[in-house]
Symmetry: C2
Subunit: 418 residues, 2 copies
Amino acid sequence: MATFVQKFGGTSVGDPKRIARCAARVKQRRDEGHDIVVVVSAMGQTTDELIELAERVNDKAPRRELDMLMATGEQVSVALFSMALEKIGVPATSLTGGQAGVSTDGMFGRARVTRVSRERLDREIALRRVPVVCGFQGLSADGEVTTLGRGGSDTTAVALAAALQIAEHGGSCEIFTDVDGVYTADPRLVPSASKLARISYEEMLELALLGAQVMHPRAVLFGERYGVPIHVRHSQRTETGTLICRETPDMEDVMVVGAALKADLGRVSLRRIPNNPGMQGMLFEAVAKAGILVDDIVQTEFGEMASISFTVDHSELADVKIAASQVLDRVGTGELAIEIGLSKVSVVGTGMKSHVGVASRMFTALGNAGISIHNITTSEIKISCIVGKEHGQRALAIAHEAFGLDRLGAAQAAGTAG
Amino acid sequence: MATFVQKFGGTSVGDPKRIARCAARVKQRRDEGHDIVVVVSAMGQTTDELIELAERVNDKAPRRELDMLMATGEQVSVALFSMALEKIGVPATSLTGGQAGVSTDGMFGRARVTRVSRERLDREIALRRVPVVCGFQGLSADGEVTTLGRGGSDTTAVALAAALQIAEHGGSCEIFTDVDGVYTADPRLVPSASKLARISYEEMLELALLGAQVMHPRAVLFGERYGVPIHVRHSQRTETGTLICRETPDMEDVMVVGAALKADLGRVSLRRIPNNPGMQGMLFEAVAKAGILVDDIVQTEFGEMASISFTVDHSELADVKIAASQVLDRVGTGELAIEIGLSKVSVVGTGMKSHVGVASRMFTALGNAGISIHNITTSEIKISCIVGKEHGQRALAIAHEAFGLDRLGAAQAAGTAG
């Protein structure tokens, strides 16, 4: 007998009928003899409706009050989900984040889980009841209602799974969503993309940071830290999805497991600036203060002068121009250049660590297709190429093809790939 | 400087505009230099919508889960109300019932307040912040979310006012509603009814039990027990409303302060039943188990036999017939008679305690109008007459007139009535 944490997203619990379907899914697992903990998001459009209501009352509402408001969305879901379980004969107990033992820091709107105390969950499980827990929320040390910010419900699920040490008895954290797993690339961009049978936390994290929207990076990080097996699967279908797990030696046989595209990037370059300590700090502090998310950073030196380039999303360009200009004014020297219309194509795989020739294979493939590379950044398990936006989607398909990703899903499933 | 508890009902906070108007009202009181605690109900139709949603999921939903669901209604209100206060420069902190220190027993759906701990309220007030508290809810000793049942938000307001000992410094518990006070009779039935300047807890309680819907009996009882001055007033108008307070000696000068009508009553009589101990218990246990609310009870004895009559609302008659028949079957003797088409007219006043002739004045007035009285029940401060339903509203007007209630409001306001 194992313990499974089952998380259902907002679309999956969007109306009473869908809730009933998800509840049936919980019953099925439970009838196999397992213990279940359910985590639920707010129903469909609830969060948007609450935000709109708040804006009508006060468009500069305090974050604390927004959290108080938002937290009701999940509370409605857990109550209804428990009722649905009771209706089909499964004893259930809805719990707010606080009741379920989820403690957070006091950063309203983007709180971090600091601790999960499992007493209440254990008590319900011992009574053979199914705890149905509000995702996305917790209680601060002061007893204040907090929300976890984007991807919060996934984080709740993985954190509860970690606290319950589900891995020890063969359980997993099942993330039910509207896609059937993690793909080698976004199937809307690369129709031949294949569904992965498994992927390591590290790889999933890179892909999530590169724009794959299946799982939020914070939830993946939590899973990695506590070794929680995460099973991403479709809420309305029964097939196995993708298992996110620790890297095993055989996984290194596969050089690349996924490719991702960030379209619509701009590159900001500060040229001929003093190459002194503190310069970078001053620049990126100003950029962060303006609320700008920075993508990759490249620095080159020429003696006492340096040049710093970084990429940002198109939508950030107006803000970044102001912030960077102010920095140059303070420095008193240097020049600002902004390029637009760029895309970033990346491939990810832990196998890169032990394989040579990954980068060259990618560059060659892009070169053979006549696509020029503006910039290259790499990490231990990732290679990113900046290309012209007009080549973005084609470059993604070429990289995907170059590493045989269309066949990877089938190979993993057949056990012929690591 | 005094402390005021201000309670706003669901209609008063029905949309962002109304919330803003109520918030302005709070600011006004606060600008006078007073400390304010706000209690809010769920917005307009929210409770009904949540109940409907629950019924679609499970028409026999567990009470605990219904409470979890219902409690979100007030939580939305307090968050929005706090945002509205912040917008006009009033620092505010929304609090769930539990956060505000409202402890209850564990009777989901109709929990009773067992204790109010004022620490958190004191802390917010000391910071010159306005705590905005969810009415209608609390936390049980087990940390479960409970709701107080009908009239719950009024009870929350009065309970907080009691805990804060607001009476000591000249404060009051202001109940803002959509009527401008307590009337000598329902103005829709008796157009000449006058608004009372004040009424004792005892009188208000009798009127509430007799069908006056201004305040719920439980809230009045709480006010009486802790001597909380309750000021019932209109949420959109500034005039003084009605003060519910302890009886003062001069209040006894007024024999009657109000008249009430319960229309559509039926009378159930069990005749020739054994006059033995336990007979009543058996009967009313069966009636209570069937969920039937019993109005007045009259018993008459004839040696070893007895006859028990009681009145119920028309809507209860079908259920009561079944329950009473089953009791007679178990007893093996007696007969059941049911009369329909009755009304009950009552007059209430603490002055009855020290005045003679109140009952005779009522009977004479009804008799002069040709209305025959089927049944009479009295308490220390109340006289009720059962009359034919066709005479109900006219009997109410006649009783109202007989005790000069149309002039009472003005007399109280002018200080010429007790």
